[in-house]
């Protein structure tokens, strides 16, 4: 091995680390006989040490070891305790489920809320689910869409032109909306739903009047249904269309 070959090998030599390697060992023997090569090796060694020291001088974050150990020491769930925790969680979930299933039809709001919501809907533009003047077709459409269809219309409404209907919902309860046209061109809106969904819903066939969203409303209950009729104008505008 000549000096040139030795220098080639010693390019990656690390003092104190690689000296046991046979190839490096032989190259170092050559360097002993070549002062220039020996000086170069010493210089490279100094730079190697400086880089190594620099990289090793990077401070290690305080608490890193403690964090690692703390993570490892985190108590593992005891099998029996774990089972009890799961059982307790299941019991709580079952209780909630039973409560929810039992009371899911409990009203989340009162009848006035329902009235306000329905009148708000028709006080602005709303989509009709079916536009048809045919009462039988409208009833069939509502029935097919799981919306209340077994309603009984007051006699005056039966003779009022029907424009169509919409299927709505109040909470989880379906609501049927029937839209009629009065002779003066105003609309009449009749909402039909189940009474179980609302506290404060009218309990009799005697209409109860109220104002909501600039509309006059009359509500009553008959045949297991709650009816809400609304229109512009005063109560006298609604009275002709109410149950006798």
């Amino acid at each position: 091995m000549n000096s040139r070959e030795a220098r080639e090998i010693l390019k990656t030599y690390r003092p104190g680390v690689d000296w046991t390697d046979a190839a490096f060992h032989e190259a170092l023997e050559v360097a002993k006989r070549d002062p220039e090569l020996a000086a170069w090796v010493r210089e490279q060694g100094l730079v190697y040490d400086a880089i190594r020291t620099s990289l090793r001088s990077v401070p290690v974050p305080e608490g890193l070891a403690a964090d690692i150990l703390a993570r490892h020491r985190r108590p593992r769930p005891h099998p029996v305790r774990n089972f009890l925790q799961i059982a307790a969680a299941v019991a709580v979930l079952l209780s909630v489920a039973v409560f929810w299933l039992k009371d899911w039809r409990r009203p989340t709001a009162s009848f006035p809320d329902y009235r306000a919501s329905m009148t708000a809907l028709v006080s602005k533009k709303y989509p009709m689910s079916l536009e048809s003047p045919d009462p039988a077709l409208v009833r069939k459409f509502l029935a097919n869409n799981q919306s209340p269809a077994d309603y009984v219309l007051p006699s005056a409404l039966r003779g009022t032109p029907l424009l169509g209907c919409a299927t709505l919902s109040w909470g989880s309860n379906p609501v049927s909306l029937l839209c009629f046209r009065k002779p003066n061109g105003d609309d009449l809106w009749l909402f039909v739903t189940e009474p179980v969904a609302m506290q404060g819903a009218p309990a009799s066939t005697a209409p109860e009047f109220a104002e909501a969203r600039g509309l006059t409303t009359a509500s009553w209950q008959a045949g297991g249904k709650v009816y809400l009729l609304s229109s512009r104008g005063g109560a006298n505008e609604l009275t002709p269309y109410l149950p006798e």
Binding site: T12, V17, Q44, V47, L55, D67, I68, R71, H72
Partner: protein, 180 residues
Amino acid sequence: MSSPKDFETLVQDHYRDLYHFAYSLTRAESEASDLVQETFHIWAKKGSQLRELRSAKSWLFTTLHREFLQARRHQTRFPEVELDDVQEDLPPAAASLANTLDAATVLAALGELATAYRAPLALYYLQDYSYREIADVLDVPLGTVQSRIARGKARLLEMLTGSSERPGIEETSAGEGGAA
């Protein structure tokens, strides 16, 4: 290697070295700390079957490097120097250079190298691993490791001595080296 005492010993023996390696790769304290923590966490789950402490150390470095590469794949790549046309000749390294180097300077230069070069070079400087051991840790052939260390070191010294104005270009796959 499964008792808490053994695990504590393992952590105390190696977490500094692993952190320095991780920091050399990432140059970010939080990322390096996360890598070290994750490495020991994986050890706690899987690696405790290893019986020899010496194997454990290599396993830890290998796992950390693998985790780094995995995380790296999800990150935006920054320009790094690929070394296809770098000569392996070492630039003149004046002895005065040894007195001017600091960690920030070295890490900045190291960080410009492609990951494929940075990892073996970091182990080359930080640890007393032989080339064979570095190859085993990084799971690459011995010849590849030798080539990457030689070329990476030449490029690193070029940057540290300011003997090159070559700008960094995006990392490409390293095409050098071969089986030992």
